[in-house]
Symmetry: C2
DNA sequence: ATGAAAGCGCTAACAG
DNA sequence: CTGTTAGCGCTTTCAT
């Protein structure tokens, strides 16, 4: 990290704090308004919740109340409403890393959709830690969220099952747990990986490394399975020593690439299972003074805005983050609004291989090879 | 947008919903526990809030209560506590675009720091819209947040001033408003721009375009001011027609670059005032079949992980996002915890010019030019 | 060492 | 057409 940790601090203005001037207008409540207008709190409540006509409240009192509310800058206390109504109009969003563009773009749609539907979102970044995630889930429960969208780092869905039992609506994104009775939405990770690795194979690559992410998570396992199956379909044996790594983070990509590049028979291609991993690949390859494509071909999961403008524009497997977020919201709100019981439907949205220039075509497949296995 | 909007849906498992099995354990409360143990709710409350010794509650009842709490999986209802205590341990985070890496990295630190301090964060993405922002702020008030961290899109701080009046602790990030009595923290935008543009000038550039972001926002104005002053310091006149654009988004960078590149006397360099803008520059330049550096030099505000691996590694002005977020939290929690009145200290954290290869050195400055102005 | 009761702000059943 | 009252789950006087 190049960044210097000092910071300077300029005092632009430091007027003295003056308690006498600090007229902190106390927040008005239905009680305040009731007193002002000379009606009961019930009536105020009815007007404010739009039930004026239902209860045939006289036009006069209604506008009096609305006027007072306006004047007193009234806004209903959502805490009190939530407590009373057992519905808070908040949903929890639990993701492993908000700084990862994949998740931040999902957060973006989720926030937008939630807002449209009148919900606020409580954001929890689990930092890829199961413990933090578990704490976050407990917390969200105590905050009475109406629902949950979660990309769990847990390897089994145990703690999620407990939650589901409690009957709190939830949907899992970018993961799926076979035993969990709740809808999930994620990319077609298997197919995406299959496409990518097949493409490498069809371009003549035989020594293809796979730098994987956090093991036992569905996206990782599915992608690795795609990697394997691509080999199988092309009648190639999988070289297990080429499947390396254990985290979706950049460092994993960096370290594993460094090691791979030092090998006696260096792989001709790398399949990076996430955007951050390929970032690490980029760093390692540059550090070794090598060039992507000429020296190693690379395909990465996750398309990025920058992918197209890299020294070697990167061939990637694009996910439809936007759609994933949208579907997740839809599934969640269905459960919340219609009190629909969760079913374990698994939505899988297709990926797309975006071919750019990071894969070198290696001479025609030798006769010998074409018969192998 | 290349993405196909269809999605397929695979039903992995769809066990029938069974209300009888669905034992939705009702949440336990202090009342439940009190009943279980045979004490009053008061005592339970005291134990659960750690005031057992203060009230000299007998060891026996205490462990009985703790045991019951454990067994019944009790967790205090934060809504009720918030209502009663007038403190919710939530803070609002309002930012213009959570998908922008700059803001998502700030969100990351804020979330982490908040969690450490026992706070949850409610995320609001204002989508660069003042109206959404205003709504979000009202909403957060009704949710009784204990504090606010906001990167306001508003051009004056009017709606923020109203809020500050209400006495809700807040700190502004990446913006500053002269009249707003609350601390702010942002980069030294002026100096960063000054450095960047000076560097361009010192490399011989005289036709330097500035693609700016949202006008009348402090980071934009400060950066443009830096652009101007860099010229002035080098005794160069500013060509007003070279200051273009009006948004921090990618499209703005794209469009303005397209136009700039078509000009009769095309600028030799572009100073892009944000990461997204330079992304647009990248796209436009590529589309025109030109090369960054050879055909146009570029410096962008905001360093990115990918900046170093671009076709032409980009010279950037790096901000210390991490520090900005941390300082913001510190300032906020100071106000919240110590009921410290807000002072309008403005924290400005330095930027760093990261020189890479996107700036071409243009022949020595001519004698004629060195005397100009 | 422990409880009863009031109240945070709101809504809804019940009662006119 | 409007009001009284109880209660959501919790904390906190004030009693004992």
């Amino acid at each position: 990290m190049f960044i210097i940790l000092h910071y300077c601090c300029t005092i632009v203005c430091a007027k003295q704090f003056c308690p006498t001037f600090m007229k902190v207008a106390k927040k008005s409540t239905i009680k305040t308004i009731a007193a002002h207008v000379g009606v009961s709190v019930t009536t105020v409540s009815r007007v404010m919740t739009g039930q004026a006509t239902d209860y045939r409240i006289s036009k006069g009192t209604e506008i009096a109340i609305r006027g007072a509310a306006e004047k007193l800058d009234y806004a209903p206390n959502q805490l009190a409403r939530g407590l009373r109504n057992r519905q808070t109009y908040t949903i929890g969003l639990v993701i492993p890393d908000i700084a990862n563009p994949f998740f931040s773009s999902i957060a973006k749609v989720v926030e937008m959709e939630a807002r449209k539907a009148g919900y606020s979102i409580i954001l929890c970044d689990s930092q890829e830690s199961t413990n933090i995630e578990i704490d976050a889930l407990r917390l969200l429960q105590t905050r009475n969220v109406d629902g949950l969208i979660i990309s769990s780092v847990g390897q089994d869905g145990k703690h999620l099952e407990r939650l589901a039992q409690q009957g709190i609506p939830m949907v899992v994104v970018d993961r799926s747990f076979p035993n969990l009775k709740c809808p999930s939405v994620s990319s077609d990770n298997y197919q995406g990986a299959l496409d990518a690795v097949s493409y490498l194979i069809e371009n003549g690559h035989r020594m293809i490394a796979c730098i994987q992410g956090l093991r036992h998570t569905s996206p990782n396992e599915d992608r690795v399975r795609g990697y394997r199956d691509a080999h199988q379909r092309h009648h190639l044996a999988v070289n297990e020593s080429l499947i390396v790594g254990d985290s979706f983070g950049e460092n994993n990509g960096y370290i594993e690439t460094k090691i791979l590049l030092k090998r006696a028979n260096r792989p001709t291609a790398i399949f990076a299972v996430s955007n951050l991993i390929s970032l690490g690949v980029l760093r390692a390859v540059a550090e070794e003074g090598l060039k992507i494509r000429d020296d190693v071909s690379v395909i990465s999961f996750d398309d990025q805005p920058y992918s197209n403008y890299l020294a070697t524009p990167m061939t990637t497997v694009a996910q439809q983050n936007y759609e994933i977020g949208k579907i997740a919201c839809k599934l969640l709100f269905e459960q919340i609004r219609f009190k629909k019981p969760p079913d374990a439907k698994s939505f899988v949205v297709p990926t797309k291989l975006i071919v750019r220039q990071s894969v070198k075509k290696i001479g025609p497949i030798s006769f010998d090879e074409s018969l192998r296995n």
